[in-house]
Amino acid sequence: MWFYRSARDSVLPFILRRFLSAVPTLFLIVTISFFLIRVAPGGPFDLEQPLEAKVMENLMRIYNLDRPLIEQYGLYLWHLAQGDFGPSFYFRDFTIGELFMQGLPVSITLGALALLVAVLVGGTLGTIAAFRQNSAIDYLVTGFAAMGLTIPNFVVAPVFQIVFGLMLAMLPIGGWNDGAVRNIILPVIVLALPQIAVVARMIRASMIEALRSNHIRTLRSLGLPTSTVVSHALRGASLPVVSYLGPAAAALLTGSVVVETIFALPGIGRYFVEGALNRDYTLVMGTVVLVAVFVMFFNLLVDILYALIDPRVRYE
């Protein structure tokens, strides 16, 4: 197809430019969050039962926390530039890097599966609803979508646990169990539900629009099979979904606090909350950097995909 070539011509310098511009962005993000977390009261070694002054002093020295803040900031940047996120203050047997190595695969597995389910189920539901606009099935899909968006996941998750884990005793209630299929069904569904809702709504809306457009009307009037019509309509209709899924993917793949807490899963979603609440400075910084990288990467991916789907879009 002709647009592939033209896309490739400009895609490499485009990606390179984006990578270069990511550096100052990351730097600013690191700076903002570094100083923000330090302003919060309490430190990483404050417990309910307080420490001897001398012990605290020792700990602060061991972790370089006794140095001037600006020096610590410099040290952090220096290590970060070498790819070292530093040691965790709370999980003291681990470095942030090790925590991510263990947690990230879990979160990515769950997030990617949820995303896949969302696109497949949401896309199908949305398409059906668009073809049968204002039918019972359309209302059902719209209603379901609204439910998915409005019921908090910390309500859905316990209900699922009770129904599928206790009453039907079909699936385990929690635990990772090395990623066994049985263990990840419920969390993936809970994660996917709101995304299914969004995708279904968006696909429905843009499909309706696409179906009204001249070229699809032409295709339909020519009596082409429905599958051909759908595939053509979907190409146009998928644009807004792609731009929505970029940030959504970044969020899903970096874990969900609620799902990981309720289903007792070792992902990295909890680290945002645990890091901030435990004042685990390095953990907080690590997650901030990680999320920022994911967001920027997926935004870039969205832009590239956009151009692939819609040849009119140029890389700027």
Binding site: A40, P41, G42, G43, F45, D46, L47, E48, Q49, P50, L51, E52, A53, K54, V55, N58, L59, R61, I62, Y90, F91, R92, D93, F94, L99, Q102, G103, A157, P158, Q161, I162, G165, L166, A169, P172, I173, G174, G175, W176, D178, E260, T261, I262, F263, A264, L265, P266, G267, R270, L277, N278, R279
Partner: protein
């Protein structure tokens, strides 16, 4: 690669289990409050860390299944007549998991290590009764070598104390007194705690540590009592959401939990019957009153605030009977003590208390025209919230207006300790050893970190000092009681409840004995298939 291998191994194990060819591994899935900060015993400070460490490492003295202090590595001990020198004889067959014998020098190394300021041990102060320990830990001119711990020979260890300490043997059961393997600590430094590196002398060895998921321990074949250890592997799993954890227990995914949602005790009992365990524990849930604040300066005001709290109702309604009403600082049933000095209003009826409290407030200059206003802080948790709501309702009866501030735990305790910016606040204290001193010392005026109330009473300090120097346990108890009575009059801390141990324990799990220490070593338990 390794995870692929692991999965294969699990699959193989599962196949074996299904075909019933070989005896399957007995695995104990054990809920724990949280992940440990570290598995280096000298850097830990919490009870949920102690559960894991107790299974991996064996100290000189240990708790048995019922929480009684029994010989551990030290098969016997002699105490000198003046009560300051302890001589321990180590078991001949005590071994590390790599086969090395456990020697007296291991304990010398370990105790020096925890006191060394460079280690940064959070809880070294537990072992301050050992000679020179405090001076070493606070860098007051003593070096780790000066510590009063000496290896007479490989099997004989001598510990010298600063002064007689009646609870010293129990102190040795604490995780701070656990030994570490010198050679592997020196070889791997901080990494000695990693699976594969960790050499331990207890019933189990560390196999896997996945944060937020599980810590897997497997049986140590070199353990001196290995033939009596019936459970092959323990998997500690952090309880991140208590309600969900209770559901996991109900579905049989956990054999025991270290807590449950107390406000749901009734419904849990209906579903789980006698698998719901509660027992008293040495811990105090209290409200600290900042004695330097204008509105709480007057002891009469503090007395009035304490008097009207309906402790029975809170214990029953909010905590589902898993906590006990508290009328003293020291929990009843503690060692080296008699009956605690209780507040004198304990025997009064609620109406009398209310009238008396109103009277006290009036004397202090508060009344309908000038209501007492109190700001009450608490750290976020459901039951804390429900408790303070109830306290404020009791206070409302005598015309006190309460404003709440809730924050996350870090902020809460940072404010209490480092600033003077609070009036009343909920707090808690779990005893580390069974002795009244461990509760009363909270309010010594030089106890900067713990004395949230900023209570400063020279007479009380003098009594505490006198008790520390008293060798006669009976007299010591009397002095401490006098000190406690002083607190109950001045009321810097309002005792509200005594903590309980709350566990869900499966009927399949045998050998679990509820006890006041909350210690349940896995080696004494077994699982009925």
């Amino acid at each position: 690669m390794s995870s692929w291998f692991k999965r294969m191994a699990i699959a193989a194990a599962a196949t074996v289990a299904f075909t019933g060819m070989a005896a399957a591994q007995v695995v104990y899935n054990r809920g724990n409050d949280a992940d440990p900060e570290t598995l280096d015993p000298h850097k830990t400070s919490t009870t949920y860390e102690s559960h894991i460490l107790r299974d991996m490492l064996e100290g000189l003295m240990i708790y048995d299944a019922a929480g009684k202090v029994i010989p551990g590595v030290a098969e016997k001990h002699e105490i000198s007549d003046d009560g300051v020198t302890y001589r321990f004889t180590l078991r001949q067959n005590a071994k590390w998991s790599n086969g090395d014998p456990v020697k007296a020098s291991d304990f010398v190394f370990s105790l020096r290590r925890i006191m060394d300021p460079a280690t940064g041990a959070k809880y070294a102060n537990i072992l301050y009764p050992i000679k020179n320990a405090e001076k070493i830990n606070k860098s007051q001119g003593s070096k780790p070598e000066d510590l009063g711990v000496k290896a007479v020979d490989d099997r004989t260890l001598e510990i010298t104390l600063e002064r007689p300490t009646p609870y010293f043997l129990e102190l040795l059961t604490h995780q701070t007194g656990l030994p570490v393997h010198q050679a592997s600590v020196q070889r791997h430094n901080a990494d000695f705690v990693k699976p594969g590196n960790y050499v331990s002398n207890g019933a189990y060895v560390l196999k896997e540590f996945v944060p937020n998921s599980q810590i897997r321990l497997e049986k140590n074949t070199n353990f001196h009592d290995a033939q009596n250890v019936k459970i092959d592997a323990v998997v500690f799993q952090p309880q991140k959401d208590l309600a969900a954890t209770a559901r996991r227990f109900e579905a049989g995914e956990l054999h025991s939990t270290s807590d449950f949602p107390a406000d749901q005790t009734k419904s849990l009992r209906q579903r789980l019957g006698d698998q719901v365990h509660t027992s008293p524990r040495l811990g105090l849930y209290y409200i600290s009153l900042n004695t330097t604040k204008e509105n709480l300066k007057d002891p009469r005001v503090r007395q009035a605030l304490s008097m009207v709290i309906d402790r029975e109702l809170i214990a029953e309604q909010v905590w589902g009977g898993t906590m006990l009403p508290a009328y003293s600082i020291v929990p009843p049933g503690i060692g080296n003590y008699k009956e605690p000095a209780t507040a004198d209003f304990k025997t009064m009826s609620p109406i009398e208390r209310e009238d008396k409290a109103k009277e006290l407030l009036k004397q202090a200059g508060y009344g309908p025209g000038k209501p007492l206003k109190v700001q009450l802080r608490y750290n976020s948790s459901d039951n804390n919230k429900n408790t303070v709501v109830q306290v404020a309702d009791d206070w409302k009866r005598i015309g006190v207006e309460t404003a709440f501030i809730n924050t996350d735990a870090k902020t809460h305790f940072a404010v209490l300790r480092d600033t003077n910016d609070y009036e009343a606040a909920r707090a808690g204290w779990i005893g580390d050893y069974s002795d009244p001193q461990n509760f009363l010392f909270l309010l010594e005026s030089d106890n900067k970190g713990f004395n949230y109330a900023k209570y400063n009473n020279p007479a009380f300090d003098a009594l505490m000092k006198k008790a520390a120097d008293e060798k006669n346990l009976d007299k010591r108890a009397d002095i401490l009681k006098e000190a406690e009575a002083m607190l109950m009059k001045d009321m810097p801390y309002i005792p509200v409840l005594f903590y309980g141990n709350n566990n869900l324990v499966s009927n399949k799990l045998q050998g679990w004995v509820d006890n006041v220490t909350g210690a349940h070593p896995t080696r004494f338990m077994s699982i009925k298939q």
